[in-house]
Every structure is written in structure tokens, then in C-alpha cells.
Amino acid sequence: MNLENFLIVSAAIFAIGLYGTISKRNIITVLMSIELMLNAVNIAAVAFSRYLDPSLITQGTDVTRSALTGQIFSLFIVTVAAAEIALGVAIIITVYRSRETVFITDVNQMRH
């Protein structure tokens, strides 16, 4: 259990989320894949702040700040993800009301 293990797990989750975001037709699956990608980034940030040597960044002045900055980043990412999912669900429901579909390949009236 060291830094590389966590980073590889994070990369795997991010790759799965990337695949789902690109390749799926249902917009709810796309939203879930985006959530997976954000969570993978959270894991990477927290693992970096846990394992990297903060005295090399700060020259030993403020160890607390650099040792916990990754967790603060993850907190902000979680907040932005919450806002994004609220807006995403609102958009899904609006599109479903007006066009009776949740497939992103069917919502293409801007192409014609």
C-alpha cells in the first residue's frame, strides 16, 4: 500500500469513467461516469497530499497547509460535483419533458 497503488486505482476508475462518458447513449449513464471521474481525481489528490513530502514544497515553514491542501481540493471538488449533479438532473428532466427522450443521440436539433 503505497502511493503508486492508489494512483493506479485512481487511473483505472478515471479510465472507466472516460469510457462511459464517451461511449454511452443514455445521459444518466454519462452523468454517473462523470461522477466516477471526479471521484478518481479526489483519490489522487488525497493520496498525493498523504504521501508526498511537504517539507520540499514549503521549505519547512507551514507543513500543515501543504499536507492538507489535497483534502481541501477534494472538498471543493465534492461541492462542485454536487452543484453539477443538481443542474444535470434538472436538465435531464427538462429535456425529457420537451422531447420525451434521455438519449443524447436523439437531442440533436442544433445540428439540423
Binding site: 469513467g17 469510457y19 500543515t64
Partner: protein, 237 residues
């Protein structure tokens, strides 16, 4: 302290790491592959809980609790709500015509990142837990010593609280009034970063309200705007 390091890097935490990571990867793969959307959302919940477990393994107990509260409690409920609202047209979870290029892109991404992460020489802390004596500086300020989250999550893995504490420390912990000088004096016997990762919540609060206060306020404005935007979007005309 050496006892805690030997236990923390022991077989048990390694097994926990592998179990958690394999379950997270398998369930997130199920999220994108299962045809039934409702089951995909349930696997997403499993993946979120596993990621909270990874936060616990990384000593970010506060983030683990936040993960459970926000992702498992709120976001998955919203997603399931959206699935149920649009259920009558959702005939499964079909891929579009980009399936094979998307899988190639994902695989290349994973391989390149794994290669980079293994190759780069990271500036790892010499001994992540506990930390060497060079961190015993008086400038590190951690105000409180006792954390219920810490006790909840690390009770079985971290015997530091039960074994190596003098009765004087225990008196300081049980005192609910915040006498800052007393706490700082009692904190100086532990090294800095080990102390930080023992008890992250006061430091996170301090960082959020002092160093990152502008981002904190901006994020609250963002949440307000998102709430108003969502209400405006789904309002009946």
C-alpha cells in the same frame, strides 16, 4: 509510535486496500456495463462507499464522512430519482457508435498514466507514518488532540490512543474547555505530520476559513446559483 507504523503497514491494511480497490474497480466497471440503469445506480453507490473506504485508508476520515453524506446520501438519490422520472423510455443502457474508439481511448489513458506513475520518482516522505524527527518543530500548530472520527475509524488499527498515553494527556483530552497553551504544550511531544494526520478536522477547518476563505465563499455562491438554476429549469411554465 513504532507499533502504530508496524500495524498500519501490516497485512490487515494491505488486505483492506486490495479488497476495497478491487470492489471499487469492479463496481465502477459494472456502472458503465450493466444494461439495467437502476442496478447501475446501485453499483455506483457501492463504488462511492468503496472510495470512502479508500479515504479512510489514506487517513482522510473527514473526507470519508463527507463522501458518505454527499455522494451516497444525496447524489445517488438524485440519480435514482432521475432514473425513475425517465423510466418509461429507458430501454436499457445502449452504447452509441463510439464504443470501440472509447474503449481504446480509455485503455490508452490507463496504460499511459500507469506508466507515468510508476516511472516518476515521487518525493515520498521518507517514512509516511510516523514521520522522522526532523518534523518536530514548534511552528506546527494543531489545536486539539482528540477526534471522535479518529477513534471510530482507527480504533482497531491504531493502538496509539490506548497504549502510549499518560494519564496527564488523558486529562487534557477530557477537558472540554479549550485551553490553547495547555493543548500546544501537550502536543509538542508528538511529531508534526503524524499529529496532523492523526487529527485532520481542526486543521481542515482552519485552512478553509483562513487560507482558502475566498474559494470557500465562492463555492457557497456557486451552490446558491446552482440551486436557483435548477429550480428555474424545472419550473412549470
Amino acid at each position: 509510535m513504532s507499533l502504530s507504523s508496524t500495524i498500519e503497514s501490516s497485512v490487515i491494511t494491505n488486505i483492506a486496500f486490495w479488497v476495497v480497490s478491487i470492489s471499487v474497480i469492479v463496481s465502477s466497471f459494472a456502472v458503465v456495463q450493466i444494461r439495467d440503469l437502476f442496478r447501475a445506480a446501485l453499483f455506483l453507490v457501492v463504488a462511492f462507499i468503496g472510495i470512502a473506504g479508500m479515504f479512510v485508508l489514506l487517513r482522510a476520515e473527514f473526507l470519508a464522512v463527507v463522501q458518505i453524506l454527499i455522494y451516497v446520501g444525496a447524489i445517488s438519490v438524485l440519480i435514482i430519482f432521475a432514473i425513475l422520472m425517465t423510466r418509461d423510455v429507458s430501454d436499457g443502457n445502449p452504447p452509441n457508435r463510439l464504443k470501440i474508439p472509447a474503449s481504446i481511448v480509455g485503455l490508452i489513458f490507463f496504460l499511459v498514466f500507469t506508466f507515468v506513475m510508476v516511472q516518476v520518482d515521487w518525493n515520498i516522505q521518507p517514512n509516511p507514518d510516523p514521520l522522522p524527527d526532523t518534523y518536530q518543530e514548534d511552528s506546527v500548530e494543531v489545536y486539539t488532540k482528540f477526534s471522535y472520527f479518529h477513534v471510530c475509524f482507527w480504533f482497531f488499527c491504531d493502538p496509539k490512543h490506548s497504549d502510549s498515553e499518560s494519564p496527564a494527556d488523558r486529562e487534557v483530552q477530557d477537558d472540554t474547555s479549550y485551553d490553547l497553551d495547555e493543548k500546544l504544550d501537550s502536543d509538542r511531544d508528538q511529531s508534526g505530520l503524524d499529529k496532523i494526520f492523526t487529527d485532520t478536522i481542526p486543521s481542515i477547518a482552519e485552512l478553509l476559513l483562513r487560507d482558502f476563505v475566498l474559494a470557500f465563499e465562492l463555492v457557497s455562491i456557486l451552490l446558491l446559483a446552482a440551486m436557483i438554476g435548477a429550480l428555474t429549469l424545472i419550473r412549470e411554465k
